[in-house]
Symmetry: C2
Subunit: 397 residues, 2 copies
């Protein structure tokens, strides 16, 4: 009892630029230590290790079979981490990208048959007066990129501020998220337009065409790549390890971020059904339920700005088996409040609890993935070289 | 850069007992320092001072005109703090109460004309085989309690696990919350039964009778004290400083805690419309919107277990003027995650942002009130003498 505590000592005040309506003062950043000991509810002691520093606006990462890690930086750089060391030279062969607060070179994944064909897939924003999202593939071999090829681009009206995630499904098809349906009274309605790629999750072949069995093939009111609609800004994709279902996380404006179990041909409601408010205060809609629109599996109020998601299937954190993890960029509009959201599910995939972890570190977590070693890796989205790849480890034997 | 950080060092593992279905492991408690420096988004530096220690299961507090503070402890003790020092002897004259995880001696408020009549009002759980909530008043003068008198008791079916809050409105009427409508398939439906006090907000005279102008007076389907219905477990009351409206916070089960603007005769929907899940996973209801039921002003997903609420109207925290503050007992079912929720409102009373503050302290915050000095006081609900009255102070001149 007694004494004086100094918690969360400020070291710098480097706030990320945000659109004017989001210009909120924030709490000071915490400088990442090399190793931090934290306690959580079901894994009492964890270490968070800064594996690799020096990243800028990092967005996604992929584990290679040889232990190297590929990382995208939104400005358009594809980086390589070898034995924890960031190669100072980005890989050559990436075309210039259109870089904004939300967009740029956002995603990298390996082809399921990478060990044989060495193919990686990337998404990025491109185009001048007509911005769009491109899906490209390239060969990554001997530490070099070759045969870069655009295999799909969003069609129709321009798509500006949008990232894009990729995920190969067990059947070999490729899910691709497209946002860009942000604004009420503006782009928001595009999420409901089947002829517009904005606000959709697409299902493609590894050649970039519509995947066989897509729900709207042959329906003239929909583009053939569309798998689901009514998304605002989907930023995370994962396959449920037991059911094989696609789960997707997306950002709402102020409150109402969602994780949905994404089924073919279903409509997830944006902007007709939403659970939050416009930034200036009014509700997006009074109708929190409407027939014909799916109810999300997980909702966050206030927003946590969920980005990459994963299910934990390893054996290093027995208390976390089967849990859903989501990187959080911030809570509400308060900067430096990013963390990782842990969602505990029962055998039916229904939520039975949540915990925010790594809150003490005050990092924007852009992506979170299970490593080949069964540990959990997280990528911070901080600028000017202060981004870090983190590894979460259990304490003890 | 670099170094090793040890954050949130465990000092003890004294978890509060909860019902079996809520028996979750938690993060370790943090021992309260005498003074803690914290940073927040809009008041960059605040001090949190442990003004008074030694409280057990404290529930509410009231500022007396002479500077003393009355505090209720749920086991049935009314305590006095003088110059920050807790009188070791509770006040005499309080009858035995029925004490449980949620119930006991929960509330103390002053009559608006206390300076003249010296009347205080208390709520507590009472009754043996037929538990109910009682409203009593007594005279507090010369450091002693006298003329203790029960002026109202809940009628009809027994009400077991429920606290109760009180608030005198500007017109002199007395709002009283009654919970006890927790369980789906069990007590929950009582919130919709106008002849049952459970799950209601009541409006009374200072004599304990139905207040004039109550919305259902003369309607045989409602008890005359009922002001609003469809509440699950309302634990916080405040009057909006500009509009004079009643705002009330209530607990949902797993996700869906609410703050409502409470209007006479309105139905707030529990258990027909709710935004969360049963603890075991299934949704409370698929219908997140239904005609005839009010949509809450603030919703928390996951739950923060909001307790006492207040609007800040002082001049010591200019960045917090007009904000709504809610004590939080925990996030989800993770123990030791209590804090204070700050909700930022625009001139129309619509939310434009939220921030969780005092998270680093890991205290269950049962009540939060603005002091006569314009500072913010918070009461922690910890057991066996480890409860603390906190004072939040700005740093600087």
């Amino acid at each position: 009892m007694g004494g004086v505590a100094l918690i969360c000592c400020a070291t710098s005040l480097g706030f990320e630029p945000l659109p004017a309506q989001q210009q909120w003062s924030g709490v000071p950043a915490v400088e990442m230590a090399d190793v931090t000991l934290l306690h959580t509810a079901h894994e009492p002691d964890i270490l968070v290790r800064a594996v690799t520093r020096g990243l800028s606006d990092a967005s996604s990462f992929a584990f290679l079979p040889d232990g190297d890690i590929l990382v995208t930086e939104k400005e358009g750089r594809l980086r390589v981490i070898r034995d924890g060391v960031l190669d100072p030279a980005p890989l050559g062969g990436i075309p210039p990208v259109r870089h904004g607060a939300y967009s740029g070179l956002t995603e990298v994944v390996l082809h399921p048959d990478f060990a044989r064909n060495r193919l990686i897939y990337l998404t990025y924003a491109t185009g001048g007066e007509a911005p769009r999202i491109a899906l490209a593939r390239a060969r990554y071999e001997g530490g070099e990129l070759s045969d870069f090829e655009v295999v799909f681009e969003t069609a129709g009206r321009p798509i500006g501020a949008s990232g894009s995630r990729l995920l190969f499904a067990p059947d070999g098809s490729l899910f691709m998220t497209v946002g860009g349906a942000f604004n009420l009274g503006g782009s928001g309605g595009r999420a409901q337009d089947g002829r517009d790629h904005a606000g959709k999750i697409l299902r493609l072949t590894d050649e970039g065409g519509p995947a066989p069995g897509n729900p709207f093939v042959g329906n003239p009111e929909y583009l053939p790549e569309v798998y689901s609609l009514g998304h605002r800004n989907p930023m995370g994709l994962a396959i449920h390890p037991e059911t094989g279902e696609l789960w997707a996380a997306e950002h709402a404006p102020q409150g109402g971020d969602e994780v949905n179990v994404v089924l073919p041909g279903r409509n997830y409601g944006w902007p007709i059904v939403s659970y939050g408010r416009e930034y200036r205060g009014p509700r997006v809609t009074e109708r929190w339920h409407q027939e014909g629109f799916e109810t999300p599996t997980v909702v966050w109020l206030p927003s946590v700005a969920p980005s990459g998601i994963m299910f934990y299937t390893g054996d290093r954190f027995p208390g976390w088996t089967g849990n859903l993890f989501a990187g959080s960029l911030r809570v509400g509009r308060i900067l430096r409040t990013g963390h990782i959201e842990r969602v505990i599910l029962n055998d039916e995939g229904e939520e039975v609890g949540r915990e925010a972890i790594l809150t003490e570190l005050r990092q924007r977590i852009r992506d979170v993935k299970q490593g080949p070693d069964g540990l959990i890796y997280a990528l911070t989205d901080e600028d000017e070289g202060s981004g870090v790849l983190l590894r979460i480890e259990p304490v003890g034997p």
